[in-house]
């Protein structure tokens, strides 16, 4: 009995124990400054962890040849990454350099565990001016020295199946109304064919669309003072725009609400079970692995309602991507800066963007992850003109989980046949907001 009781507490403390264990291994490498070995945690960008290792290893060897600094690489899957970072933050025993999801930048900055890139540090990695401004802005809270710099950029686009559109005599949509009417025409539940596929069980996807469509409808998740404003009319209408695809217009297979592992939604699109897919550009990897050629799909910006609702903006994506951070207590700060400079150099960007299907974060870089010129142009255009950064406030990660879960719940409600009204949405968002307040965020 004792074992079980204490077990609960141990579960809660697991992160500290694991952090201590993991840190024990790392500390040996980071403490021996003379040997010049950096520990680097890379996120999973390729088709598998092994694929990431295979892509990065030759580049790290190149870096060692240039500078004499050895980099010990650990590739960490997305489900574990944030917990491992939290563990490292808590124990103070972490890698020297690590990848973070750029939307976590402000939340992680608030922990104080990461090195701020002040002007000296920025100069050391080649200057702020070498980065695409929209990507650079994701590095931390506005008006502070960022604690991360961009490494890979990703944006959302609307993928459409060229052949299905052509045989229905349709053009890719330029307004949200067109998107809905196209999707309706392309939906035939009897043939198990739907106009759109969603990753409806994924809280990250849900919160991204709550933000994108909320902005189109004139909403903002946070006010200027950083207080949550989830229940503004704009945010509610934005969530409704998303949930209505499944609930009101029924252009989405209700089973989509169980999709949350990444490959399912692009898989349905690749197999012709859905005519459209709203996804970040790294869906290319999955689509091609599922046998779709890059010439078989087209990409346009996710359209906004026309005319734009009051206060709305033609936002088609948030600035997604991966940033690089340096742990504050690294013993090898100079070496770490050299490594960040190397990874964000135009040459390395050109090499890494291809296998990782990323957009360049440095100026003058070209989109080279696809041979489909129109697709490359569409994504570059979205990043340049239609992408807004997610709110850069410490409560961002709590916003992602609470609002994302709320929207997932609404999608599940729609899928089980219960209509989702405006007041349902308001209640769900209000609850998410109250949770943030009560939890002290």
């Amino acid at each position: 009995m004792k074992v079980r009781l204490i077990g609960i507490v141990v579960v809660l403390l697991a992160v500290f124990t694991t952090a201590a264990c993991g840190g024990g291994g790392n500390s040996s490498s980071s403490s021996s400054a003379s040997s010049k070995t950096l520990t680097y945690w890379a996120s999973n960008q390729g088709t598998s962890l092994e694929n990431d290792k295979a892509v990065l290893t030759p580049e790290l060897a190149k870096f060692e040849k240039q500078t004499g600094i050895k980099v010990s690489l650990q590739v960490i899957g997305w489900p574990d990454l944030l917990n491992k970072i939290l563990g490292a933050t808590t124990s103070g025993q972490g890698p020297d350099v690590l990848n973070i999801g750029n939307t976590w930048a402000a939340s992680l900055q608030a922990t104080g565990a990461f090195m701020p890139f002040d002007s000296a540090a920025l100069t050391a990695i080649g200057g702020q001016d070498k980065f695409v401004p929209a990507s650079f802005a994701t590095g931390g809270m506005a008006g502070t020295a960022p604690t991360s710099v961009p490494l890979y950029a990703l944006v959302y686009g609307l993928y459409y199946n060229k052949q299905m559109f052509a045989s229905a005599g349709l053009q890719p949509p330029t307004t949200w109304q067109e998107l809905v009417s196209d999707a309706t025409k392309l939906t035939d539940p009897a043939k198990k064919q739907y106009g759109m596929v969603l990753e409806g069980g994924s809280y990250t996807e849900s919160v991204h669309f709550a933000f994108i469509f909320g902005r189109q409808n004139g909403g903002q998740p946070f006010d200027a003072g950083g207080k949550p404003t989830f229940t503004s009319a704009g945010m509610i209408n934005g969530v409704k725009q998303y949930v209505d695809l499944l609930g009101k217009y029924k252009v989405v297979n209700p089973s989509n609400v169980q999709y949350k592992n990444g490959p399912e939604a692009p898989g349905d699109f690749a197999k012709g079970k859905a005519a459209m897919l709203m996804s970040q550009n790294n869906a290319d990897n999955t689509l091609q692995a599922d046998g779709m050629k890059s010439s078989e799909y087209g990409v346009v910006a996710i359209p906004a309602p026309s005319p734009l609702p009051a206060g709305g903006a033609d936002v088609a994506s948030f600035v997604a991507g991966i940033n690089l951070s340096i742990f504050k207590n690294t013993k090898n700060q100079d070496a770490a800066l050299q490594f960040v400079k190397f990874m964000t150099s135009p040459e390395e960007q050109a090499i890494l963007d291809k296998p990782f299907t990323a957009l360049p974060v440095v100026k003058g870089g070209t989109v080279n992850f696809t041979d489909n010129k129109a697709e490359a142009a569409a994504f570059a255009q979205v990043l340049a003109t239609k992408a807004e950064a997610l709110p850069r406030v410490p409560a961002e990660s709590a916003f992602e989980t609470n609002v994302g879960d709320a929207v997932n719940g609404l999608l599940a409600q729609a899928a089980t046949g219960k209509a989702v009204s405006n007041s349902d949405i308001k209640a769900a968002l209000q609850e998410a907001q109250d949770k943030m307040a009560a939890a002290g965020n």
Binding site: R4, V10, K435
Partner: protein, 323 residues
Amino acid sequence: MPVTTTTPTSRAVGTVPPPHRRRPRWNRATPYLFILAAILLELLIHIVPMLVGIWMSFIRLTQFFIANWSKAPAAGLGNYKVAVDFSTPIGRALLHSFTVTCLYTLIVVGLSWLFGMSAAAVLQNSFRGRGSLRTLFLVPYALPIYAGIITWSFMLQRDNGLVNHVLVSNLHVLDHPPFWLIGNNAFVSMAVVALWRSWPFAFLMIMAGMQSIPDEVYEASAMDGASVWKQLRYITLGMLRPVNVVLVLMLFLWTFNDFNTPFVLFGPTPPNSADLISIHIFDNSFVNWNFGLGSAMSVLLLLFLLVVTGAYLLVTHPRSRRA
């Protein structure tokens, strides 16, 4: 718990040492030296983390302070107040989660015991294939937890899951394939999976208990004309009581703290109807980065389980009061 310790003390510390047996002379410290390693490990693995957890529940350990715990401001009872203020969403959610967990525990423990008891009673009699049935019954318990539950999650998928295939396409019990992993059905799915996992343990324990009941007792009762039901009621259940008391307690604690079943079936944020308390606490700590609040909830859970366990042992062990 405290009552059990009174029994040994009354005999163990004899006032008159037995004079006829010569024991090797032990240094006073020797027994303590023997258990020293165990005590140190117990402290390290159980007690210290538990105390740290209790301490965490009294500080505001949010994202702003996890890099430097010592700077986290004291929260007093603040975290506890938030957790049990049922007029706010956090308190309401905790209460909801607690209710769901109680219901889940009641169903899973009750049915596990019933299934285990029935299977053990049937397998008491020797017949062909008894050995293989026994083995078959134990398979769910022997399977790795993750493998078993993830298989269920595949079977419970709406479009291509085995369950809907059988119910809708083969048997035509239902017209439209229902969702098993979202909405209110999620609770049923979770309870079924947990039952599938835990009843073999009940079966194993009860079977072992039954084997220690001497045949003569049954024979004697048969001579006196007791029916099978009477034998089951007065002999089997009566002599199994010590086994059952422990078994039900263990099942209760395991099920109440069940984390694996909802986590593997639904991921880190289960549907509302299946929001068990341990995963709810996990969410409040890790997903919202508020370790102080999560710790406060854990401490409350710990207190609740201590009270229930203590009361249960008092009720089921009244004889120790006599000691």
